[in-house]
């Protein structure tokens, strides 16, 4: 009488076998499909629901934080108290739009590394802290605010750093966006609006957009001439109203179409201070494509600048592409034609001059800290490359200081502080010019004295439009940042 009972048992066991096969199918064979299904809420939950470390400015202002979700005991809500202020650098983590900025690049630090591997458990038992770590930025909150205020409604960017360390002080790009809107319930329409905006608020103009650098590039042309011994600050050049380029009928004229000083001769320094195109076009041709490109590359052109975020490489055409074309060489030498630079690149040009010719690797994350405030690791300043000789840097410093004292950059002057700079007004076909200012201060900073180097660009002249120049539009913005810094 046991046989029916046995058969019943076998039937149930066969049922379990079917379950084992079905489970194996779901977990092993179909598993990756279910795991990666876009409807799988884990994809989102893991990204946005986990606790992430705080991101704070160098002076302790919170740029990003995680708080326990009011809806669920085990999830966290990310918020960006500064709104648009740090949006481009800090970025965001969004269900719909993924992660950007430091939230993406430093995700490994920001999310909890707690795990239940044996080493993870041992680490915790030994007193290690597996909670998510936070980032302290090098950005100064007051300075960042000043830069955004100064940029106002214009499309543009400011990038500022400490030339002696590479610590970034300002990374501003306008227009910006509020990352909180991309993680809230109305993220979809908010994101669509930003995507459709012709002003591209999501774009970080300070590191991810290039512009013709215009006359700010004359710093590099001058450095090339100084390094090669072709010219010095007192070398004299003719001062024509317009320079007829050899082998063509094209001419290069000065900004106002007139002579630089009196139409006789002008020293290189005088030409630099007044930003005379004719002199630098001639100088560029004397320096030659080869040296021009070598120097530009020494300053960082055509390289990916090492940074916490991805920087678009600035472009200097290959020497052989324009070596036999003096007009092209002349135009490249004044930062027009095919030369393109990001604001961060031009800030590094100013920083190189301020730092005796050496460029430090820019960095925006100062420390990684534990939830109890203990610092886990700090970024050590490091030299990236030598851009020009200390002697050339010293000469350039003098010339740039005179630009601010009596030249095109007077609007950047701050009383009582020695500021050096160079303006640029980059001509664009069919649109108002981009207004540039690059500079630094104080000149000849004493040991331990804080220093700042920056680049300002206002796209298409901003509200000034066709009448915009670097000196009239960008220099005043730099002035406001310098004023805040030296306050």
């Amino acid at each position: 009488m046991n046989d029916p009972l046995r058969r019943t048992a076998w039937t149930i066991l066969a049922g379990f076998l079917i379950l084992a096969v079905a489970t194996t199918w779901i977990q092993a064979l179909a598993g990756p499909g279910y795991r990666d299904d876009p409807r799988n809420p884990r994809l989102v939950a893991f990204r946005v629901g986990r606790e992430r470390g705080a991101i704070v400015s160098s002076d302790g202002v919170v740029a990003a934080r995680s708080d326990p979700s009011p809806d669920s005991s085990q999830t966290f809500v990310r918020s960006y108290p500064g709104g648009a202020e740090y949006a481009h650098t800090v970025g965001f983590v969004s269900v719909l739009f993924g992660a950007r900025g430091l939230e993406r690049e430093r995700s490994a630090d920001l999310v909890s590394n707690r795990d239940t591997t044996i080493s993870g458990v041992l680490n915790a038992l030994m007193g290690g802290d597996p909670r998510p770590r936070g980032l302290r930025l090098t950005i100064d909150d007051d300075l960042q605010k000043a830069a955004l205020t100064a940029l106002g409604d214009n499309r543009g960017a400011v990038f500022a750093l400490d030339p002696s360390t590479g610590a970034v002080l300002v990374a501003a790009s306008t227009p910006g966006f509020d990352p909180n809107t991309l993680i809230g319930p109305d993220a979809q329409p908010a994101g669509q609006l930003l995507d459709d905006d012709p002003d591209q608020p999501l774009l970080d103009r300070s590191i991810a957009k290039t512009y013709p650098p215009g006359s700010t590039f004359k710093v590099i042309t001058t450095a090339a001439a100084l390094d090669a011994g072709i010219a010095g600050p007192s070398t004299e050049y003719p001062d024509p109203g317009a320079l007829v380029l050899p082998g063509s009928t094209a001419t290069i004229s000065n900004y106002d179409g007139g002579v630089c000083i009196d139409g006789t001769t002008v020293t290189l320094e005088e030409a630099f201070v007044r930003s005379c195109n004719t002199v630098f076009a001639r100088l560029g041709m004397e320096v030659g494509a080869e040296r021009l490109v070598t120097t530009a590359e020494a300053f960082g052109f055509n390289s990916v600048i090492p940074y916490d975020l991805e920087i678009l490489a600035s472009a200097m055409p290959e020497a052989r592409s324009f070596a036999d074309d003096p007009p092209e060489t002349a135009q490249n030498a004044i930062g027009q034609r095919d030369v393109r630079a990001t604001p961060v690149q031009m800030a590094l040009v100013a920083a190189a001059v301020a730092n005796g010719g050496e460029i430090m690797i820019p960095y925006v994350v100062a420390d990684v800290f534990h939830s109890d405030g203990m610092i886990e690791s700090s970024t050590t300043p490091a030299v990236w490359r030598r851009a020009t000789s200390p002697a050339s840097a010293a000469v350039l410093t003098n010339m740039m200081e005179r630009v601010v004292i009596s030249g095109t950059g007077r609007n950047a002057a701050v009383p009582g502080v020695r500021i050096a700079g160079k303006t640029g007004t980059a001509e664009v076909t069919g649109a108002p010019p981009h207004a540039w200012f690059i500079g630094f201060g104080p000149v000849e900073a004493g040991p331990g004295e804080p220093q700042i180097a920056l680049a300002v660009v206002v796209e298409s002249g901003g509200s000034a439009g066709e009448t915009a120049t670097g000196g009239s539009v960008a220099a005043p913005i730099a002035q406001m940042i310098f004023a805040e810094f030296f306050q």
């Binding site: 029916p4 019943t8 079905a22 977990q27 909890s112």
Partner: protein
């Protein structure tokens, strides 16, 4: 000797539960607190108490059934804790209460043995039916029926002079009582029911009056389905009745007529009840109505798929995203965090439970003990099969607790009583 092995295995299960809790807690909070120790203490108390009563009053009880139950309870508890620590705190009380209840039952049967239950079979039948009908009590009464998740399976008691509501699912205990009744009934009647007296063409039929219980079972299951909207309980009861009838009589006609009845009932239910139709369509294609009927099934599949072979690790998955993850879908939660390895371990443990339980029944010489042990084992086995089958889409979701693993006092209590009866029955055969 075997009792010592049982003790060691129980300590192992208690350690497993507390280590699991520690890992979950560590993954979430990075520190450990009293939950770890409390879990060990409660598991050691619950299963240790049953172990000690076995030692005292059923020393020859099968030593495997209790450790297997403790293992399943431990795995389930870890996931309940992972999904909701507050529920786990309550579950610890339920575990302790279930352990005390099982110990009491073993003590009560210490002299009379399980045979005494046979005498009260009609009392159990009435009690079971009464319990099944309890959830239909009006909601204004002190003991009231309550609808949870669309099914009227619950009873809520408002404790007088204290602002406390106690809820329980009487159906869980009713299933055990019905099994005792059926085992007793079949012990008396199986000979007669197995006798084939009539032929209808090629089909040989037993006396029509012996078919009565089948029809009663089908009718009862269908009534439960209709009034309580409980697809799972009705299917479970019906399958149990048919399995026990077949095990006792060896007559395929019961299985055949049972299958016909269940298909007929299924067709009628499909036509009559929208919620049955929804379950069927969600089973055939959970992604067709992803945000509606298919949501739970789809979430279970996402969880298990994400778990893959080795799982996300305890506390590192998101089983809290699965609806009803602490009860119906606890298997999917295990699959996510412990992976295929964990799922197969759980299925294997249930298979072991069935093997050991049926082994006890096979060795029983006494008919009642045989049917009792066999029936209770089948009850656990079929219930585990039905609910896991729903999770892995072998069958539509029926809505049952996962025996021993799910959160819930009534379910744990029923499982503990089953273990006590299995232990006692196996002791009596060896003694």
């Amino acid at each position: 000797m075997t009792r010592n092995a049982e003790a060691v295995l129980i300590v192992g299960a208690a350690t497993l539960a507390s280590i699991g809790v520690a890992m979950v807690q560590f993954a979430r909070d990075s520190w450990l607190d009293a939950d770890v120790a409390l879990t060990f203490i409660v598991f050691a108390f619950t299963f240790g108490l049953i172990h000690l009563t076995f030692r005292a009053w059923a020393p020859n009880a099968n030593p495997l059934i209790l450790p297997i139950a403790a293992f399943l309870a431990a795995i389930g508890f870890i996931e309940v804790f992972r999904i909701d620590p507050n529920l786990a705190a309550l579950q610890r009380w339920w575990l302790a209460i279930a352990g005390i209840s099982a110990a009491l039952l073993i003590w009560l049967l210490r002299d009379s043995g399980v045979a005494v239950l046979r005498r009260y079979r009609y009392l159990f039948l009435v009690a079971a039916v009464g319990l099944l009908l309890l959830p239909l009590l009006p909601e204004s009464w002190p003991i009231q029926g309550a609808v949870v998740n669309g099914s009227r399976l619950w009873v809520r008691v408002t404790v007088p002079f204290a602002d406390v509501d106690l809820s329980f699912q009487p159906g869980e205990v009713a299933k055990v009582l019905l099994t005792i009744f059926l085992a007793s009934y079949l012990a008396d009647r199986s000979e007669a029911m197995a006798t084939v007296s009539r032929s209808l063409g090629p089909i040989r039929l037993p006396e029509p009056r012996h078919l009565g219980p089948v029809l009663v079972a089908a009718g009862a299951a269908f009534l439960v389905l209709m009034y309580q909207r409980d697809l799972g309980a009705s299917l479970l009861l019906f399958a149990l009745f048919i399995a026990m009838l077949y095990a006792a009589t060896g007559r395929g006609i019961y299985v055949f007529s049972g299958l016909v009845a269940v298909v007929a009932a299924g067709v009628v239910a499909y036509q009559q009840f929208a919620h049955v139709r929804m379950r069927i369509s969600a089973w055939l294609d959970p992604f067709a109505d992803f945000t509606g009927a298919g949501y739970q099934t789809a979430q279970g599949l996402f969880a298990m798929g994400s778990g893959s072979l080795t799982g996300s690790g305890l506390g590192l998955g998101r089983p809290d995203l699965i609806p009803e993850a602490t009860t119906d879908f606890v298997f999917a939660a295990v699959g996510e965090e412990l992976g295929l390895a964990g799922s197969i371990a759980v299925i294997t443990a249930y298979a072991l439970f069935v093997t050991v339980g049926i082994g006890i029944a096979l060795r029983c010489r006494d008919r009642f003990r045989k049917y009792l042990a066999g029936g209770l084992t089948m009850l656990v086995g079929i219930q585990a099969f039905l609910i896991i089958a729903g999770v892995v889409r072998v069958l539509p979701i029926t809505g049952l607790t996962t025996p021993l693993m799910s959160y819930g006092g009534s379910s744990l209590l029923a499982s503990a009583l089953i273990i006590a009866l299995l232990g006692r029955a196996s002791h009596e055969e060896r003694a």
